[in-house]
């Protein structure tokens, strides 16, 4: 014979699975973020591996005066388009239309000044509002290389060693590894993978408490020979199960996408194994319990279904706050982060992605920091359930 708790849980869970809105939430949150991540990364990989970068057009005025510069630009896959002289308005219009990444204007006396060994003027026009920053830097790199090569040749022609131009030699050393760099880049995005713990169970939590009360079916439920504690626990676990399913599916999808993408082409790597991921998912079970508990308690406390919905949609975004603050203020990873739900999960995943060897403690702390508050909240919720005032909504 099934226990009373199992009966309540199965009934609630079956109902959630019948509810189109719950399932839609689940599907959307499982698919949306991993696919978005994959799309963004795939785009930058494609950009990096394309032999000829499309659309890298540079409009040049008076380019015939500097054939060497033009061929050096072409060497860097920059398409040089010769233009008639234009005034400021025409250049602005051209850049607004995004026809060219930048406009290079060589003055009429460019070649004459060059041959006279006076600084020859080049104007670089660009629109900083467009998103062509990296491409513009490519152009500036070519200009700098061109300029310093000429400076070296001129010094040499004067019988002066070009070594004069480099009084100090700076060797940069980066101690970050490729994996840790990628983890930092991916880190902020990875946090989003834990959001389903809050979003996927939301509809279920509202429906099984505030919804049921409004439909007056809670009274019937309360008349059954079950304790409020069993009742709340059944609703709680059923909602949390949805959150966990969403979380695990999202993680799995993101893992598949990240492993499949040739991240190495942009100097990044995804080194988390499926086994690591499994451990993260297990350690995140309490987070799903916490999310569901919080939402059930809040929904029960609201006066109406509508109020519950609006309160919960705000609360759902709250767990993102610590992660965002840490990312924005660039706070270093520290042990106390494992005391904050969601932030601890995020941190755990990021450290694993960095290739850090973690002991058991972070997993335990991550689990406990969600589990303990979850139990407290559920205890509070079942105490509320005992009150007739709540059930009858008087």
């Amino acid at each position: 014979m099934k226990s009373r708790f199992t009966i309540v849980f199965l009934k609630e869970f079956r109902e959630h699975l019948r509810d189109k809105r719950s399932l839609a939430m689940l599907g959307v949150f499982v698919l949306m973020f991993p696919l978005m991540l994959g799309y963004i990364l795939n785009n930058s990989i494609e950009k990096a591996t394309k032999p000829e970068r499309e659309g890298m057009e540079l409009a040049v005025i008076g380019g015939a005066q500097a054939p060497t510069l033009m061929s050096q630009l072409r060497q860097k896959n920059i398409t040089v388009v010769d233009m008639e002289d234009m005034d400021e308005e025409a250049i602005t219009r051209l850049l607004r239309q995004r026809k060219a990444v930048a406009v290079l204007r060589l003055k009429d006396n460019y070649a004459a000044n060059y041959m006279e060994m006076r600084p020859a003027d080049i104007e670089l026009w660009f629109d900083s509002a467009s998103d062509d920053g990296p491409r513009r830097r490519d152009i500036e790199d070519v200009l700098n290389a061109y300029s310093s090569a000429i400076a070296g040749a001129r010094l040499l022609a004067h019988g002066v060693s070009p070594a004069t131009l480099s009084p100090v030699k700076v060797q940069r050393y980066d101690t970050g590894s490729n994996a840790s760099r990628s983890a930092t880049l991916l880190g902020a995005m990875l946090g989003m993978l834990f959001l389903p713990a809050f979003t996927c169970c939301m509809s279920a939590a509202v429906d099984s408490t505030a919804g049921e009360r409004e439909r007056r079916s809670l009274e019937v439920l309360m008349a059954q020979p079950v304790t409020p504690w069993t009742l709340v626990c059944g609703k709680w676990i059923a909602a949390a199960a949805l959150g966990l399913i969403g979380l695990c599916l999202g993680m799995l999808l993101a893992h598949l996408i990240l492993s499949w993408l040739p991240l190495e082409e942009i100097g990044m790597s995804w080194r988390l194994t499926s086994y690591d991921l499994l451990r993260v998912c297990v350690a995140s079970i309490p987070l799903c319990l916490f999310g569901a508990a919080l939402q059930i308690a809040l929904a029960m406390n609201s006066k109406s279904y509508k109020e519950a919905q609006s309160v919960l949609s705000i609360v759902t975004l709250l767990p993102l706050a610590p992660g965002a603050v840490v990312a924005m203020m660039d706070i270093e990873a520290a042990w106390w982060m494992y005391l904050v739900p969601m932030l601890s999960n995020q941190n755990l995943m990021r450290e694993l992605a960095k290739g850090q060897e973690l002991g058991a403690l972070p997993y335990v702390m991550t689990a406990l920091c969600s589990l303990l508050p979850a139990l407290a909240i559920i205890a509070f919720a079942s105490w509320r359930m005992k009150s007739e005032r709540y059930v009858l909504a008087v």
């Binding site: 032999p51 054939p67 072409r74 019988g159 499926s274």
Partner: protein, 473 residues
């Protein structure tokens, strides 16, 4: 199979593989000049003399740049530097430029060949006034330096370097490897693949050394490259306008230098007053060096014209550029001599020797012969030129003064699956130019397929320098 079992296998299999790979990551993390990021450094003790495996050992330094894809450790690229005498750890800057695409999926392994870099470098101490020493002083310094080394010079052969590579391959746990040889490194690569044909998956040779090539006898190719510069200048309207008689000027200058010219001028780097005797040795070795790169060689007419008009400062400044930028010089001199004296000089016939005497490499050959007489290393038996079956990609620059395309053609006669690309506007060393890094990756991914090399034709010819203003704008 039940769904649950499938899921369990799918979850655990990659985990097991990754764990095994992580355990195999060799050496310790290290930072080396030329690379911003941390690399892996491995030190491996190899026998100094492979016929006495239990005798004294030599510590070989190996730099490993792990692939960006962590699980792709299958077939690495071994980069073999030039010289002989160039150290692998001195060319690490190519990791970020030329080899970036290759490194996406393959480890790059760079060995400091024995006698170079951090593998027991055999070099002469830096002489303070190197640029102005007389011929006798230089010879005395070389003699002192040769006598100062305790190890047997015969141990520093190409054959032993190839055996070292095999030791490294085994120590790092690779099954088959790809070779990327540059200049002299192409000779080492060919030697390795002939010793261990089963281990090489594919091979890229940039500036190919032919099996019959004698390194210090580079005069005729150098002479041809110089003539080519003069011919190109004559064909170029601007250059011909500025230096219409550059060929004759050069011949006249040559005669003057053969007689010896004493020069007094402020030192190009320190501006201190200095004097130097422009000897044929200095003159020709500078010319030969300039010809390596087309960018450089296009300023040759200007340098020669200035010197012809008794303004030697630009020429001297160019001559000193190498020692101005580096204190120790990139090449391990004694290791270079150890290889050349045992493997090249004994093969030099009388006919070729007299042919070389008429070229601009004659003083260089002369000084090598003198040094070899002091070094007195036993001639090494030439390696038999067996057929290489592994797929090979050969790259040559048409303007190369040391390994022009005819050398690759000669080497290609002993290869059964070779592609040879000739770049019209390139000199010695192609891989860093234009689309070559992309082609490198393309070839290594599919070595049996023909690479689409058309994009190499887009590498433009640099412009001639007409005056003090530098190259044309």
């Amino acid at each position: 199979m039940k769904l649950r079992t499938i899921v369990r296998v799918a979850l655990l299999a990659p985990a097991a593989v990754t764990a095994a790979v992580a355990a195999a990551a060799p050496g310790k993390s290290c930072h080396l000049p030329g690379a911003e990021e941390a690399l892996r450094c491995v030190t491996l003790a190899v026998p100094l003399d492979y016929s006495k495996p239990s005798g004294s050992t030599l510590k070989l330094h190996v730099t490993v740049a792990p692939a960006f894809r962590e699980s792709a450790r299958g077939d690495p690229v071994f980069l073999l530097a030039g010289g002989p005498g160039q150290a692998g750890s001195d060319v690490l800057m190519v990791l970020n430029s030329t080899l970036r695409r290759v490194r996406a999926t393959r480890d790059v392994v760079i060995i400091d060949q024995r006698g170079t870099g951090k593998s027991g470098r055999l070099a002469c101490p830096h002489e303070k006034n190197e640029d102005s020493m007389s011929q006798d002083e230089i010879e005395a310094a070389v003699k002192r330096c040769i006598a100062s080394v305790r190890q047997p010079y015969a141990a520093f052969s190409t054959a032993n370097a190839a055996r070292d590579m095999e030791q490294v391959r085994k120590a790092l746990g690779y099954d088959s490897i790809n070779l990327l040889g540059v200049s002299y490194g192409t000779r080492l690569a060919q030697h390795y693949v002939r010793l261990y044909p089963g281990q090489v998956r594919a091979m890229v040779l940039d500036g190919v050394a032919a099996p019959d090539q004698i390194i210090p006898a580079a005069g005729q190719d150098g002479e041809a490259a110089l003539k080519r510069v003069f011919a190109d200048c004559a064909a170029d309207k601007a250059c011909n306008g500025a230096f219409p008689a550059i060929g004759q000027q050069f011949d006249a200058l040559r005669k003057r230098v053969e007689a010896g010219i004493d020069l007094e001028f402020p030192d190009p780097r320190t501006a201190r007053p200095s004097r130097v005797r422009m000897t044929p040795d200095r003159f020709y070795s500078t010319l030969h060096q300039i010809l390596y790169s087309p960018d450089d060689s296009r300023r040759l007419p200007f340098l020669i014209n200035s010197a012809y008009n008794n303004r030697w400062q630009p020429f001297i400044a160019r001559r000193n550029a190498g020692s101005d930028f580096s204190v120790d010089g990139p090449v391990s001199t004694l290791m270079h001599l150890a290889v050349v004296c045992a493997e090249d000089v004994p093969r030099l016939g009388q006919a070729q020797r007299s042919a070389e005497q008429a070229t601009l490499a004659a003083p260089l050959l002369d000084s090598v012969l003198k040094a070899c007489a002091i070094m007195d290393v036993a001639p090494a038996a030439p390696a038999p030129a067996t057929i290489i079956k592994a797929p090979v990609l050969m790259l040559s620059g048409a303007l190369d003064p040391v390994t022009p395309p005819r050398r690759a053609e000669a080497a290609g006669k002993f290869m059964s699956a070779a592609q040879h690309l000739v770049v019209a506007n390139a000199g010695h060393g192609i891989l860093s130019l234009g689309c070559a890094p992309r082609l490198l990756r393309e070839f290594l991914d599919r070595p049996s397929q023909k690479v689409a090399a058309k994009c190499l034709d887009e590498i433009p010819a640099p412009t001639f320098q007409l005056g003090s203003a530098g190259p044309q704008p």
